[in-house]
């Protein structure tokens, strides 16, 4: 069987959903970040797949690099936020942080 574009897109979709599932469901904030990384990587795979099989040629690669860089920055800031949350709430269970509930 020939590996085509569709396989990569399906893979990316599956990864995306798993990542989304992780964001929505996981209690620990770090696990939410991991899910977020999964989402970003799924988007990356999508970009590269289109760069190879789609019509995007080099733009796909550039986009992937952008995403990786931004994911790294954003992970850094997210960890900083989680540190602050831990200092304030003494735990990082996101489903227990509901001060804006109302």
């Amino acid at each position: 069987m020939q590996v085509g574009l569709i396989h990569y897109i399906v893979l990316s979709a599956i990864l995306f959903s798993l990542g989304l599932f992780g964001i929505i469901t996981r209690k620990n904030a770090i696990m939410v970040l991991m899910g977020l990384e999964l989402v970003l990587n799924a988007a990356n795979i999508n970009f590269i797949a289109f760069a190879k099989y789609g019509g995007m040629k080099t733009e796909g690669h550039i986009a992937a690099i952008f995403v990786i860089i931004l994911a790294a920055c954003e992970a850094a800031i997210a960890l900083a936020i989680i540190l602050n949350i831990y200092q304030n709430f003494r735990h990082i269970n996101v489903d227990e942080i509901d001060n804006l509930k109302g």
């Binding site: 989304l20 964001i23 929505i24 469901t25 939410v32 996101v94 489903d95 942080i97 509901d98 001060n99 804006l100 509930k101 109302g102």
Partner: protein
């Protein structure tokens, strides 16, 4: 003097005393003592003017029935109200009587009321009274007469209750006014009946209507009723039975007021009214009038016999003499009734002023002795005053002669004429009518008795108290009126013959007018031979070739009058002449007996007064207590009125107030129900909306979890929906 000038002079004579009223009431307090002088001089001017007026009427126009004017006052819808003033012979004479007595009373009061706190107001009210009385005298229509009638009533009320700090005086004023008002009610009803029938208030229009045959409500009995109703005004004003009770109480007022109002003028207003409208009375009405007058004369004469207050004796004497006048008019003695009014005015005013002089002296004597308890008006405290007050005594005894009917006085002429008239009347009318002369002669006899009793007890004998001994004669303004009035009671002024007044000017000037009532309702003996309806009567008077109706000058008047020179006497007047000497003889006899009895009991003490009192204890008490009229009225009329007013008060308190309270109770209940509705229904709806909103909010609030993961989930769902619907 032209007619217009005469009428203008009438208006001036009427209004001059009003000037005295205005000056004294408004600036009297600043004037002080001078207000009395001003009042007296204004009345003096009025007297002169009235004299000129009377002179011109009686001398220049003696035969004109009336000089009058008609003034359209106002209109009610389509009917015009006409009023006016007029002067005929009796008006002219009354003008002089009223102004002269008013002037003398003003003069007298300068001494009598000296030092009184409200001296200027007194003169003001005297002026008001004179103005009102002159209004009655000059009116030629019922409307103006009624207006002035009431004015006179109110002046009387004010003057009787002049010393209103004393409860008895203010009570007497109220009694006078209320009793008067009861009579005025009848008067008013009579006026209304006449206006409704004849559509005018003017005397001439009404008389013309009556002689034209129009009867009120087409019933001749209603004409009698109207006549009796009009007479009720005279019953009230002239103190006839049964409304005579106010006059003795009116003695609470100052004595000059009693002289002016309650002896000479106001009480004469009723008699004057009857003479003015004499022609409208039917035979039945005249009989009613005669009987009322006789009863009054008799009852009050019996009361006067036992009274011990100087003024009360004179008051009852006035009531009795008014009864005489009314009786005379009722039997048909028009001229003599009016003659007695005039002569009585002079000598009764003199008697009252003399009483004032005596009381004034006694008062001063008691005051100087620092005795404030003895009554200066009780004749038992007097005695022997003839020695200390000679001039008062002489005038008093002379006018007492006049009142008692002693010859050579004016009173003798008038009283004699009346008594002759009653005899003629009884003879012509027959049957039970004889009671009238019997009672009249008894009253005349009693008059002589009680007047001499009064004279002897007050003036003769010894001083019964020390105060009586300290009295002295009063000054000129007090004594002069007495002299003048006594002077006017001499027979000379009215007739040259001291025993018969027919030849005198008075009888010529004051001529009985032809009655306006159709002959079948009139006494046949009062008809003259010129009546058209003679054929319906039983007595035919022999045909005369004289025409007794003459119309002259003034086109306004419609009343016919029998000309003095050419008139033939009707049957009544012929019979009166026939009875003249009989009446004179009986009256002299009876007056002589009365005087003799008075002297026997009181002067010579031949018969003892105390023994008589004890023998006739019941009669004496009945007479002394005024026949218990006041007690009777108090228990019936006054008691009844009070009970009725209590019933009405109960009705007002329980029924009316009950209804008001009930409506307020209902309103409060209704408002309570509305409040409930407002609270539960309206507020409930509002609350329900609010709670619903809250409920929705509390449910929707659940969406705001505060957890980021939920928000991410919502965003995802939102994107899916958008992608589904738009792509």
């Amino acid at each position: 003097m032209a007619h217009e000038l005469i009428l203008q002079l009438c208006i001036i004579v009427l209004l001059v005393p009003l000037v005295s009223f205005i000056i004294n009431i408004f600036i009297g307090n600043k004037l002080g003592r001078i207000s009395g002088i001003i009042g007296t001089s204004i009345l003096g001017i009025d007297l002169v003017l009235a004299g000129i007026l009377t002179f011109s009427k009686l001398v220049t126009y003696p035969d004109l029935p009336i000089i009058q004017n008609r003034i359209d006052w106002f209109s009610l819808g389509t009917s015009k109200i006409t009023v006016g003033f007029g002067i005929d012979n009796i008006t002219a004479i009354m003008l002089v009587v009223v102004t002269m007595i008013s002037f003398l009373v003003h003069l007298f009061s300068t001494i009598y009321m000296e030092g009184d706190r409200r001296y200027p107001q007194y003169y003001g009210y005297l002026g008001l009274f004179t103005f009102s009385m002159l209004g009655i005298v000059l009116a030629n229509n019922f409307l103006l007469m009624y207006v002035f009638w009431e004015l006179v009533g109110i002046s009387s009320y004010i003057l009787i209750g002049f010393w209103y700090e004393k409860k008895s005086a203010s009570d007497a004023g109220k009694k006078a006014f209320i009793t008067n008002r009861i009579g005025d009610l009848g008067f008013f009803i009579g006026i209304l009946i006449l206006y409704f029938t004849y559509n005018s208030f003017m005397f001439d229009d009404i008389f013309a209507g009556i002689s034209g045959g129009l009867m009120p409500f087409n019933n001749p009995a209603m004409l009698t009723a109207a006549g009796i109703c009009i007479f009720m005004g005279a019953i009230g004003k002239s103190a006839q039975f049964p409304l005579h009770v106010w006059l003795p109480d009116a003695m609470e007022g100052p004595t000059p007021v009693s002289a002016l109002i309650h002896a000479a003028t106001m009480v004469a207003a009723g008699v004057y009214l009857i003479t003015k409208v004499f022609v409208m009375f039917t035979a039945d009405a005249l009989t009613f009038i005669a009987v009322t007058g006789t009863i009054t004369a008799f009852i009050s004469a019996t009361i006067a016999i036992t009274q011990v207050d100087f003024k009360k004796v004179l008051a009852y004497s006035t009531v009795s003499q008014l009864g005489f006048m009314v009786m005379s008019l009722g039997v048909g003695g028009y001229t003599n009734g009016f003659f007695h009014l005039v002569t009585h005015a002079w000598f009764k005013a003199a008697l009252f002023l003399a009483a004032g002089s005596v009381i004034h002296s006694m008062h001063h004597a008691l005051h100087n002795m620092h005795d404030h308890h003895t009554d200066p008006q009780n004749i038992n405290n007097m005695g022997g005053l003839r020695k200390t007050m000679p001039l008062t005594y002489i005038t008093f005894i002379f006018v007492t002669f006049a009142l008692s009917g002693v010859p050579f006085t004016s009173g003798f002429l008038s009283k004699d004429g009346i008594l002759a008239n009653t005899l003629a009347y009884a003879n012509l009318a027959g049957g039970w009518h004889w009671i009238i002369p019997v009672l009249a002669f008894s009253a005349a006899g009693m008059t002589a008795f009680y007047m001499f009793r009064l004279t002897i007890l007050a003036f003769h004998g010894e001083h019964r108290t020390e105060a009586a001994g300290h009295t002295k004669e009063n000054k000129l303004p007090v004594v002069l009126p007495l002299v003048i009035l006594a002077f006017l009671s001499v027979w000379i002024f009215y007739s040259p013959d001291p025993f018969n007044s027919s030849g005198g000017w008075f009888q010529k000037m004051v001529v009985q007018p032809e009655s306006a009532v159709p002959a079948e309702y009139q006494w046949n003996f009062l008809l003259s031979e010129n009546s058209d309806a003679l054929s319906t009567t039983e007595h035919k008077i022999p045909e005369s070739n004289l025409n007794a109706k003459e119309q002259e000058g003034n086109a306004d008047r419609t009343r016919a009058v029998i000309q003095p020179e050419t008139h033939r006497l009707n049957m009544f007047q012929e019979q009166s002449h026939h009875f003249h000497y009989t009446a004179m003889f009986i009256s002299l006899l009876i007056a002589g007996l009365g005087i003799l009895l008075a002297f026997a009991i009181y002067q010579f003490r031949v018969i003892s007064a105390e023994k008589l009192e004890n023998r006739f204890r019941f009669l004496h008490r009945f007479s002394y207590n005024k026949w218990y009229f006041d007690e009777l009225y108090k228990s019936t009329v006054i008691g009844g009125t009070l009970v009725f007013s209590k019933l009405l008060a109960l009705f007002d308190n329980y029924v009316i107030d009950g209804l008001v309270n009930l409506s307020s109770y209902l309103t409060r209940g209704f408002s309570y129900l509305t409040g409930l509705f407002d609270n539960y229904v309206i507020d409930g709806a509002v609350n329900m909306i609010a709670s619903f909103t809250g409920y929705c909010g509390s449910r929707l609030r659940k969406l705001q979890t505060g957890r980021i993961q939920s928000y991410v989930l919502f965003v995802l769902i939102g994107i899916l929906i958008i992608v589904y619907f738009f792509i």
